[in-house]
Symmetry: C2
Subunit: 219 residues, 2 copies
């Protein structure tokens, strides 16, 4: 029987991915929130699904909304940091936007559970999630800044500056419809994001640069 | 006091848009589903919000999922018909896709309640909503057919054929974030849908054609 240092002894052996009880709670909650629904899921049910007592769950998260908040943060944090890093660099913007779109789309495609489906929940429109909204707003505004620069560089349509962000998040709907995304979807999305802004040339060079930077193989 | 021919006398005077009790129930349910949540809303609460007895509500809808199904159908039916009509016509595909995107985006922008936010609910993944899913799938496949033809006409990227459909539905997320959409959003989206497929020319002529066909003024 495994033990969880911060809680009680486990009722059953671990059956979830994750190195710690905290990660297992997050995985179980992500599954239940995306398949059963957030409001229909109790912390009791999450604890049962991990195989720990409800009291042990409370050692890690004081309430259900703290679990949701941690899951949501995981969908934006790395991309906000990458976007800020890319914005601070020199050179043309188009290859930088290309890199951000590939990384962010790949991240949204890759989690076991399609957490982006939770963005539209009415439950999120409360003060408790203000920090998450601010974080996602900065991601959106970084996309906007990169996009406006690409539009200026390529004489593209001025009103398209919100669309690259939308194309990336559309992967959430694609996963919801098809259960999965094609492996080349991040690359397809990056090319589309640039075309929407009036940039339809130099794409194969950008693919190579992005692949090098992110340590991926271009599809 | 108004009376509802198919139900009991109303408890209060009508306070909702809609010519019939049925329309008022749909409006109240749309508000509650999108602001409180589908699973958190009872038929009792919908009836209260309309100002009718719960028994009267059951004259119009046998269950809560029948109300949701009717609301969802309203978000796709007109666009499926328009898409089928456009596919049956002659001539180049790009202007036809342009028209579909403008009409469909305008429709998703225009309802009082942002019903598309309900598409991702886990509650929808049951047999009860199979007819809605088939309907939305045909809309998606009509978009795919139009998009593949535009890609062929313009030597565009072959893997972009699902993206126009996604760009249109992204208006749902935009409304959710900003509460509203800019008035020119249908036109912005139509231009983006064509650019994604490799078609970046002739857009002002398409705008004029679409405006004429739909009886709109191009933004």
């Amino acid at each position: 029987m495994e033990t969880d240092r911060r809680g009680r002894p486990r009722l059953v052996a671990s059956r979830r991915p994750g190195r710690s009880a905290r990660d297992e709670i997050l995985d179980a909650a992500a599954e239940l929130f995306t398949t059963v629904g957030y409001s229909a899921t109790s912390t009791r049910r999450i604890a049962d699904s991990v195989g720990i007592r409800q009291a042990s769950l409370y050692h890690h998260f004081a309430a259900k909304d703290d679990i949701l908040d941690a899951l949501l943060a995981g969908t934006v944090d790395a991309s906000v940091e990458l976007a800020a890093e890319l914005l601070a660099e020199d050179g043309p913007m188009a290859p930088r936007l290309h890199t951000l779109v590939v990384a962010d789309t790949a991240q949204l495609c890759s989690g076991t559970w399609n957490l982006g489906t939770l963005y539209l929940l009415p439950d999120l429109r409360v003060e408790r999630f203000a920090a998450f909204h601010r974080r996602r707003d900065s991601l959106r505004s970084h996309y906007g800044e990169l996009s406006r620069a690409v539009i200026a560089e390529h004489d593209g349509p001025a009103d398209a500056d919100d669309l690259p962000f939308r194309l990336v998040e559309a992967v959430i709907n694609r996963r919801s419809d098809d259960g999965t995304c094609p492996p080349d979807h991040p690359w397809t999305t990056a090319e589309a994001a640039l075309r929407v802004l009036g940039c339809a040339r130099g794409l194969s060079r950008m693919r190579a640069q992005t692949a090098r930077r992110l340590g991926l193989s271009p599809e």
